[in-house]
Amino acid sequence: MKAKIIVTPKKAVVDPQGKTVQNALEHMGYRGIKAVHVGKYLEVELDGGDKEALRKSLDEACHKFLSNPVIEDYKLELE
């Protein structure tokens, strides 16, 4: 089993990296881009077991350690 975790900066936090990437895309001629947000992707390989129990413990790890709730949001997927 594998957990996929996507961490992105909160909307209220200025994301200069996203803004810079957006500017570069526009300079390259890509049109219609409203905003870019640069975050992190983590893949956690798991031994397996009860999916709901794993989700619960990983959710806790995301909140406590893998993301910082002051500045980031996260999305957790198990597959």
């Binding site: 900066p9 209220a12 200025v14 200069p16 990296q17 350690f65 893998l66 910082n68 500045i71």
Partner: protein
């Protein structure tokens, strides 16, 4: 007084802090991140650097180190803890200080002298700073942009926790004097109880004239004065 200076893999201002304290005539020793006790330390300094390579987020891994659990307990019992640069980031990650430090607004690493206004002189970290004195202290960071949400900022203002703000040489809080995009030009804050403080600028790198400024020594002297005062009170 006895200071414990924490040392993590990739701390790089630990020796600067040790030197700053010793040059004021007090004792300081390094404490490795795997230690579980602070021994007989009177105060703790968490120095600058790039603990654990800044992996995941600055300070994110250091906060779970064994020594930080001891620091948390020490602070819960009223012990004085000062975090400088990476130390400030670690204290925010640990939830011992409000807010967080994110990438500088221009994405660049800034290594330069800045000017600081001290807002409150009635704390263990500021009591020796002369009134209206604008401190000249260097910064050296890529992730020093202070962020906190509106509700937290209101609380910080109401509780007088914003200790230092970036300003110009005349003490004005201008956009140009804010090196990293911090909200409200915030350079350093303390907790509600006022026994834990952190700042991005390096008082350790401005602790004697030879370094271009000795304004940083006021901060160390403040901590020493606060410790001496509490020792006198205990003895009385």
């Amino acid at each position: 007084m006895k200071f414990a200076v924490l040392q993590f893999p990739a701390s790089n201002c630990d020796q600067d802090c040790i030197h700053a304290v010793r040059s004021l005539g007090h004792s300081s020793r390094l404490l490795w991140h795997k230690e579980t006790s602070l021994g007989d330390a009177d105060a703790v300094i968490i120095p600058g650097g790039f603990s654990y390579g800044d992996y995941l987020r600055t300070g994110a891994i250091a906060r779970f180190s064994p020594v930080m659990q001891a620091v948390q307990k020490f602070a819960d019992n009223g012990g004085l803890v000062l975090g400088v640069c990476n130390g400030f980031q670690i204290l925010c990650e640990a939830g011992m200080l409000p807010g967080a430090l994110v990438r500088n607004r221009d994405l660049q690493f800034h290594c330069e002298q800045v000017f600081l206004k001290t807002n409150h002189l009635d704390t263990p970290f500021t009591n020796k700073i002369p009134r209206d004195k604008i401190l000249k202290i260097p910064i050296a960071h890529g992730e020093g942009c202070y962020f906190a949400d509106e509700a937290t900022l209101e609380k910080l203002k109401a509780n007088r926790q914003i200790l230092w703000q970036y300003c110009d040489v005349g003490g004005n809080l201008t956009e140009a004097s804010n090196p990293n995009g911090s909200v409200l030009n915030i350079a350093g804050v303390c907790n509600e109880r006022r026994n834990v403080a952190g700042l991005m600028p390096h008082p350790d790198r401005a602790s004697e004239g030879l370094l271009g400024s000795d304004d940083g020594k006021w901060i160390f002297e403040s901590v020493i004065a606060a410790l001496e005062e509490s020792r006198t009170k205990k003895a009385a």
